[in-house]
């Protein structure tokens, strides 16, 4: 394991401290745990809380700020934060309008946030949660844990965050979050794995000519392995998978070409070059494109594609001002 860190045990704490020090006027770290909140607490509007394991930087603390999240609760790398930590975050930002938690669909995240929301209710805080499950690599079925939550999550932060900032009530904010979730799909791949600091070695290994298709964002292997192909071939495969789940034809969409952490922008732009033309040819209108590292797996090399179908409400909320470390609008 080759990393620029001090010691394995302090990775999360030092990272979050370093992040807050990059924008001390905008962000504050709570004493208790690796929890980041806005420096100016919101009043009279619904507060948004998200979080999950660390290792997805800039998610989620990079999305705390005006127009997006009020609080991000970071667990240790790839491990959901515990209910008491989430509760601490909820309490630090809760308003009389209530709190909406944005949770990615993982057994651990759901159980921990669910317990936190129950505990918050016990303390008289109106808290609810939505579950993001955009990853089409995983089959959705009543008898499984369903699709994972991956890069599409940041679109929930953006759009629900803008709705909350507008002063909408908890019901309306939750509804628009669920609308985003219903309309967003993602699929990813990797050419090189990542290493959880505490584990000290990569989650899987790939030969020089292999790639992993259908990876998640926790260093776990994907749905299958193939011979490495050209950027266009890979991108087409991912898009086709997504379009098989939601047919975006004739729709206006936001496209995210998301790097997994160690992918050079060079490669992401080459991917975008293909995807843009391929989607356009199918009668899909690209309203906006984001290319960069938005939801990563530490130093995994690879990318994911995310498509969100827009309507007028989502479009204007997507366009609304946002001021965070990782997303400025």
């Amino acid at each position: 394991m080759k990393k620029i860190i001090n010691d394995v045990a302090s990775v999360e704490e030092q990272m979050i401290q370093g992040l807050v020090k990059a924008a001390p006027d905008m962000l504050r770290k709570l004493e208790y745990g690796t929890i980041v909140v806005r420096a100016q607490r919101k009043q009279g509007q619904v507060a948004l809380v998200s979080g999950g394991g660390s290792g997805h930087e800039p998610a989620h603390a990079g999305y705390v700020g005006k127009g997006m999240l009020d609080c991000a609760v970071a667990g240790t790398v790839f491990t959901s934060p515990t209910p008491d930590q989430v509760l601490e975050g909820i309490k630090a930002v809760a308003t009389d309008q209530g709190v909406l938690c944005v949770v990615k669909n993982y057994t651990g995240d759901i159980m921990n946030f669910e317990m936190a929301v129950e505990m918050a209710a016990d303390e008289g805080i109106k808290a609810e949660y939505v579950v993001v499950n955009d990853d089409v690599a995983v089959k959705d079925s009543l008898y499984t844990t369903g699709r994972r939550g991956v890069a599409g999550t940041i679109l929930v932060h953006k759009i629900a965050g803008a709705k909350a900032e507008e002063g909408a009530d908890l019901k309306a904010v939750k509804e628009v979050a669920e609308k985003v979730i219903a309309n967003v799909r993602t699929m990813g791949m990797a050419i090189a794995p990542c290493t959880v600091p505490a584990a000290g070695k990569p989650g899987f290994e790939l030969a020089e000519d292999e790639m992993e298709i259908g990876i998640g964002i926790h260093g776990e292997p994907g749905t299958h392995r193939e011979k490495l192909a050209s950027a266009d071939t890979i991108a087409k495969m991912l898009v086709d998978h997504i379009l098989a789940d939601i047919d975006y034809k004739g729709q206006e969409i936001v496209l995210i070409v998301n790097g997994m952490g160690a992918t050079p922008l060079m490669e992401l732009y080459i991917v975008n070059n293909f995807v843009h033309d391929y989607l356009t040819k199918q009668g899909i209108t690209i309203y906006d494109t984001m290319v960069g590292n938005y939801m990563t797996s530490i130093e995994m090399a690879g990318f994911s594609l995310t498509l969100l179908r827009l309507d007028d409400e989502m479009k204007s909320l997507y366009d609304a001002k946002a001021h965070t470390l990782a997303w400025k609008k």
Binding site: G53, F78, A198
Partner: protein, 207 residues
């Protein structure tokens, strides 16, 4: 088993989990995200640190205290699951200063139900329940047919061992391993394995 013994056993469990940390992580690396041993070791280290302050309390309070430590220190899926298990077991033992075989069965029943409820899962989904459900059945059967707690627990451990082996033969439908679909076949579930270690350690330290 009295409260003092329980604390002694839980200390031994913490040692065992720390010993098996790398192996559990290794198992999770193959079909999960490679942190189960790390998570469990972090949690049981917190439990170990908490135990002295639980000395002299009744069994219900001790088990709840352990559950709370697990919930707030393990994280991931196993944290709420093991945490809920110990808290529910504690609730089933409210006020007890010692536990007989019947109480042990009731505690374990509450624990397993807690996991099923929290995890929305049941036996056969390649989770810790594949060790715990057969173990509970064997324990209940042994105690019902008049065996000593120790003998019944030995049956339970044997059943859990089989359950762990069984997890290699099935596809996961819960937890992270479910994302792998068929690729999860042939691999042992880390949570079932840690459950087995806990049961084994209790057995080894029962007088």
């Amino acid at each position: 088993m009295d409260a003092k013994k329980l604390i002694e056993i839980m200390q031994a469990v913490a040692v065992k989990i720390e010993e098996e940390k790398d192996y559990l992580t290794e198992l999770d690396n193959v079909i999960g995200d490679g942190d189960h041993g790390i998570n469990m070791a972090r949690g049981f280290k917190a439990v170990e640190e908490k135990l002295p302050s639980l000395a002299g309390k009744d069994i219900g309070i001790i088990l709840k205290g352990i559950g709370l430590q697990l919930v707030s220190n393990v994280g991931g899926a196993s944290g709420p699951l093991y945490g809920t298990a110990f808290m529910k077991a504690g609730a089933a033992c409210t006020g007890l200063v010692s536990m007989d075989a019947v109480a042990f069965v009731q505690a374990m029943e509450a624990a397993v139900q807690g996991i099923e409820m929290r995890g929305k899962a049941h036996e056969g989904e390649k989770t810790m329940l594949d060790a715990l459900c057969p173990a509970l059945k064997a324990l209940r059967h042994g105690v019902d047919s008049g065996k000593t707690a120790k003998a019944a627990l030995a049956d339970a451990v044997a059943a859990a061992e089989q359950g762990v082996a069984y997890t290699q033969t099935i596809i996961a439908t819960k937890g992270r391993a479910s994302y792998l679909g068929e690729r999860s076949l042939g691999h042992q579930d880390p949570g079932a394995t840690s459950s087995l270690y806990i049961l084994q350690t209790i057995l080894a330290h029962l007088s």
